[in-house]
Symmetry: C2
Subunit: 376 residues, 2 copies
DNA sequence: CAAATCATCCAAAGCGCTGTGAATAGCCCA
DNA sequence: TGGGCTATTCACAGCGCTTTGGATGATTTG
């Protein structure tokens, strides 16, 4: 395997177009094993074994084969190899799109980046299936009966997600990004400790003297949202504060949602003094709402958000803008991919990874207004 | 083909786990054509032709075959089919990641969503290869010599992008999302008219009396950034205003970048009165900078941004927050995918699609402060 | 020096599907 | 009644690779 990779890497340095054209000669028709072995005067068996690092090939012929492969730009046909070995060397991702709002999860790009990194290091391809979240049947039919992947990553699990028993029944290895509360059977997963993160965040706001804390959550059938809410409620309960339904919201995590909600709450009677928000994007909307009303974040209203540490949306370089519960979704992608590969290859490995989120202090939190009056 | 799809769709209704378990019996080992034909007492040929809609099969047997396929949850093995037909029924995307900043293009998720929609409608899979943008050789080796895709979508083209002659030389059908200025050979592409969009936007700001307009652009080796800058400069030139290098910036399009740049410019001598920004995310940073200085967007400083109409980042539901040059990247994804499929299937089709961006009026633009003094 | 061992290499049988080139059977017409 | 059709169906040869189960000499061993 390695024997093939190294030489070609040289040939494909971007910009070095001439070398590539030479290497691959007449365009579209790549060389086959048969042709290569014919050229070398060896059997297909020997050439195949030489390239795949089997021991029963002399070092001399192995070198000769490797050189020829490089020279002629030979690489095994994936389809043929997959058919022969029974392994597709590909991993499938089902990307659900909110059918109501046609929304793509913004977290997805970074997760993919992390996972893709691990895949390519291990010789796996990534197969994507983008489907409306109320019509995932097509995607599963494709992956499962067409057998074009060896494993699956499941995104955005819901409460007691029916896809989990389904995949379990089918025997295809899979790893869930997130968890599914109330799931009957065991399954492998990588998740952030959403409950503990939001409990700590709520605690922190309570410590600052905030009593009316708004929870701006994701859609309530999503598992992560359920856990975040549980964390929020646990923190309140610990101080004997009954959760107020008027302060708890669930919905798509858009900027506009955050903005509209904030405006109406702050303009209403008995306004809240703090917001706990499920995504950076929504948090930006909340801040816009705060500032449009002439209020100042941190001084008048506090704000904590969850931060997936998205590459294109960093929470400030030096001092974070927002106080946040932070956990890199890209890292989660890496970990989930590695776990899946380990499982597929029969390695003994942890099937459950719970990542703790950092609580990073930013410029969006401060003591509740009430306290300020006392001290100032 | 259709014959297979319909029945399975029923079996796979999410939640109907029992039906699935029944349909696929003993888990992982799917049925083969050989088994199915044996069961039916027919030859593999006949079964295959029946399922693939060939005319030389009697309607009676076709029905019988379809029913059996449904009952046993049969679907052809993709790998075997690909090997036999020579078509992989998959399309590859090479997703470059900025190697300097490890940044994933936020536009990518929505583009994929649009393209994926078209792919699944046409029976194609989507293969993703995530690679650092200075090391794309591995991705191309994989796609081209391993032959696991029938076509490629190229993202984020640069000035005279070397990947274009490369793919042309290799004879693999491909479509570029964007264009590559100075490219020698022809190629198929779907692009937004970046130049005209930014020219119109600049014109609009000039009409409002703004003279010092900052251009906050993407990385300058990216083709779209070059064209946007050209539009900006053309508008200035039309009014005999020499472009001021001190007002033109290029960089990664992050929120922090926009913020920092805005603060330093507005705090400096001879501050600008308007910003023309290449992405919503950066625009949010610009606005944060404006507001932190106690200024008001639109009244004190105007702002126009490009808006890719990302699903998770809509520019306000009713009245847009930002005045923007808007073009849906998701729609571009659909169009690029369709074009590629048309090309691969030898259909006669347009190889160049230039999408015009809307200039939508929002709440971020207003007359330059100078004019306000005159009128107020 | 014959027998056993080793190091190399190879022919051939699949993997599960498609597609070509018949074969078979039923039917029509002269 | 026999030749010519049409409508169905089938056997078989690949697609390009891996892998099993030998071959073939060369080398070692008792």
């Amino acid at each position: 395997m390695l024997n093939i990779k190294l030489p070609l890497t040289q040939a494909f340095v971007v910009g070095n177009v001439k070398a590539i054209q030479t290497a691959l000669k007449a365009g579209a028709d790549a060389m086959t094993l048969k042709e290569l072995s014919g050229l070398l005067g060896l059997s297909q068996t020997t050439v195949s074994r030489a390239l795949n690092g089997y021991p029963e090939v002399s070092e001399a012929t192995r070198k000769r084969v490797a050189a020829a492969a490089r020279e002629h730009g030979y690489a095994p046909n994936t389809r043929a190899r997959a058919l022969a070995t029974g392994r597709a060397m590909a991993i499938g991702h089902v990307i659900p799109i909110s059918s109501k709002h046609e929304m793509v999860n913004p977290v997805f790009g970074d997760f993919i980046a992390g996972a893709g990194e691990v895949y390519s290091r291990n010789g796996y391809d990534m197969l994507l299936s983008v489907v409306p979240d109320d019509d995932e049947d097509a995607a599963y039919r494709s992956f499962l009966t067409k057998r074009n992947v060896d494993g699956i990553i499941l995104h955005a699990p819901t409460l007691n997600d029916p896809r989990i028993p389904l995949l379990n029944a089918l025997g295809l290895p899979f790893v869930v990004h997130g968890r599914s509360s109330d799931a009957q059977a065991p399954y492998a997963w990588v998740d952030v400790n959403n409950k503990s993160a939001f409990q700590r965040a709520t605690d922190f706001l309570l410590d600052l003297g905030h009593a009316r804390i708004v929870l701006v959550n994701g859609l309530e059938h999503m598992d992560f949202a359920i856990r975040r809410r549980a964390g929020y409620e646990a923190a309140l309960k610990a101080r004997a504060i009954p959760p107020d339904p008027a302060l708890m919201f669930a919905g798509e995590m858009t900027e506009a949602q955050g903005h509209d909600l904030t405006r109406s709450l702050l303009a209403g009677p008995n306004p809240p003094t703090a917001f706990l928000v499920s995504s950076m994007i929504t948090a930006m909307g909340v801040r816009r709402g705060i500032e449009e009303l002439g209020l100042t974040m941190s001084r008048d209203v506090s704000l904590i958000t969850h931060d997936d540490d998205l590459s294109y949306f960093r929470n400030g370089a030096d001092i974070p803008v927002y106080t946040a519960t932070r956990s890199s979704v890209r890292d989660a992608g890496r970990k989930a991919a590695q776990m899946l590969i380990d499982i597929m290859q029969g390695r003994d490995t942890a099937h459950e990874i719970l990542l703790e989120a950092d609580l990073t202090l930013g410029q969006s939190t401060g003591p509740a207004a009430r306290l300020k009056v006392e001290t100032g």
